[in-house]
Amino acid sequence: MPEPAIVAEELTYRYGDLLAVDHISFTVSPGEILGFLGPNGAGKSTTVKMLTGQLRPASGRALLLGIDVARHPKQVQARIGVCFEQPNLYEELSGVDNLRLFAKLFGVRDVDVNALLRRVGLDGRGADLVGRYSKGMKQRLMIARALVNRPDILFLDEPTEGLDPTSAEAIRRVILEEQQRGATIFLTTHDMYEADRLCNRVAFINSGKIVALDTPHNLKQQYGKRMVRAEVVGSDGKLFTREIILDRPETPAEIADLLAHHQVVTLHSEEATLEDIFIRLTGRGLA
């Protein structure tokens, strides 16, 4: 069994009296995409900062690629790429110059910045000053910057937050390409659709603790409620909704009765979303 790409052991961090991250432990396998889901202030960004060597844990430890992050942050940082939530590019420099600067910081000599720009849909705009880019273009350039050293692990903090569908789709495509290349991806997001579609596993974090960690499918199986929802014309001619829970002995008879004796207008299978499960587990939404 290959060594995990990321190991978090009892990671803890405090901001004064506030326990931001509370003894969390998890592992991420090489080539896996782990979604880290939680509302604002849940501890997602603090966890990312500890994993990427930006913050030193109050207790516990993080190992990336077998290296202790707190002890050897620069060894780790040489092999990771980080895409921040807020654009933090040099706006007075061009896109190409931003990428070349970071390539030099990583000691990468043979980087093809134009190919990188092409991958994120910015070909032809590399010579423009970043200050003239739209928000979506800046976010795509941030992704390109995170890839400049061909990282073994990619940390993406809300990479598609507030982006237009085209930019968001371009970024999701790059994430999947990176996974195919073999990179491990740690993705924090609010977007349940994105997490469901991209992530091999998702972790729910709330108030600094991981409350669930599994594949989206298993979470839905474990915590979801399978049912069908029908819109039916009633005897008075008005529409009403009927829900039938699946996986019960009486379910087949209930469905047969519905179809036989009622005028069904629509019929949909329903499954719990990750957000439904999160609300069920924490009592609060992800926003």
């Binding site: 940082q77 040489a78 933090n88 040099y90 420099l93 600067l101 970071f102 030099k104 910081l105």
Partner: protein, 352 residues
């Protein structure tokens, strides 16, 4: 430390500096303006005293008493003419003796002598002119005091070689050049923090130490080169070049430390400018003591730039060398290293 990474950061900072039109303009125009002002200021000091006299006749004794290269005597027909000449700045001081001066003296009465002065004459100098008026009156009355006065100049005798205004201003220009770069560097660092680019830099193999080395090199060398250009253009490097270059280099490091401190206090360009102006005022104070020597006080020595200004001023204007002002470099270097270390420590906390 990775030299290629540090060089990349220095190049990046230079491009960002000149991408900021305000700093690019201030840097280029500043150098040109300082040099232009230097050359527009008088290169020599007019040491002659222009005296206006209204006097019935010039006795030989008085003519002899006033016979001095440094005194130019101009006679006027009336007190009204003399007043107009003083008001117009044609003469510095005027003595108007009454037309019947000698008759009054013969009769034993007390003639009134009018002393005419320009408005800017300071009270201590007024006293000197009053004494001169009495002395002239004694001479005119044939009662010159039977004393011989000998002059003793303590320190270098600057008669005929007074320090020109432009030479007094040169240390101020040098400090201003360094301070402008200090403000530029501080705003660059504050912008890195404000825009979050510092976080992006520090999740690469670049270490905090490497980052500070790059910033220090950029700030110090950039300021140093400009100060050297200014001194070279104004001829300031002709005198004790090694001493002055060393002082300027240490001064550049000092200002880089000040820039780190300003950047640690400022959150944006405006607050950097606010703190920067305060720092500029404090750092420029020692130059004012050169412009107005009477302003000098011991506490000025607490301001590190005193040692920079004193070194440049004395070496350029009095030919002072390592033996005379070399001792200035030690406190200058110590304060530069102290401010640099303090600035780095505070900034490091802000970066974390």
């Amino acid at each position: 430390m990775n030299a290629a990474a540090i060089w990349a950061l220095i190049q990046k900072d230079a491009r960002l500096y000149f991408a900021n039109r305000l700093f690019a303009l201030v840097t280029v125009l500043g150098l040109v303006a300082y040099a232009a002002i230097y050359f527009l200021l008088p290169a020599t000091v007019d040491e002659t005293l222009k005296v206006g006299l209204v006097i019935p006749e010039m006795p030989p004794a008085l003519a002899e008493a006033l016979a001095d290269d440094a005194v130019v005597v101009k006679q006027f027909a009336s007190a009204a003419d003399l007043r107009a000449a003083v008001a117009a700045g044609e003469v510095t001081v005027g003595f108007a003796f009454p037309p019947d001066l000698f008759d009054q003296l013969r009769q034993g009465s007390r003639p009134a002598v009018e002393l005419l002065l320009a408005p800017e004459v300071t009270p201590d100098v007024v006293g000197v002119y009053e004494a001169a008026a009495r002395e002239l009156s004694f001479t005119l009355a044939g009662q010159a005091l039977p004393v011989t006065i000998s002059e003793v100049i303590l320190g270098p005798d600057l008669a005929g070689a007074q320090i020109a205004p432009r030479q007094r201003m040169l240390p101020l220009f040098a400090v201003l050049v360094l301070m402008v770069e200090c403000l530029g560097l501080a705003s660059l660092i504050a912008a890195e923090v404000e825009q979050g680019t510092i976080r992006a830099l520090l999740v690469t193999p670049l270490t905090m130490r490497g980052l500070f080395v790059a910033k220090s090199l950029f700030g110090s060398l950039f300021a140093f080169v400009q100060a050297v250009i200014l001194l070279a253009v104004t001829g300031g490097l002709a005198q004790a070049p090694l001493l002055n270059l060393t002082a300027l280099l240490i001064g550049s490091v000092l200002m880089t430390g000040v820039a780190f401190l300003i950047a640690s206090l400022g959150r944006d360009l405006m607050s950097v400018m606010g703190w920067g102006m305060l720092a500029l005022l404090i750092m420029a104070l020692p130059t004012f003591t050169v412009l107005i020597p009477g302003l000098a006080a011991d506490w000025v020595r607490l301001i590190p730039t005193h040692y920079l200004v004193d070194t440049i001023y004395r070496s350029l204007n009095f030919g002072a060398g390592w033996a005379e002002v070399g001792g200035n470099l030690l406190p200058l270097a110590a304060s530069a290293l102290l401010l640099l270390a303090l600035g780095m420590a505070i900034l490091q906390r802000r970066f974390a």
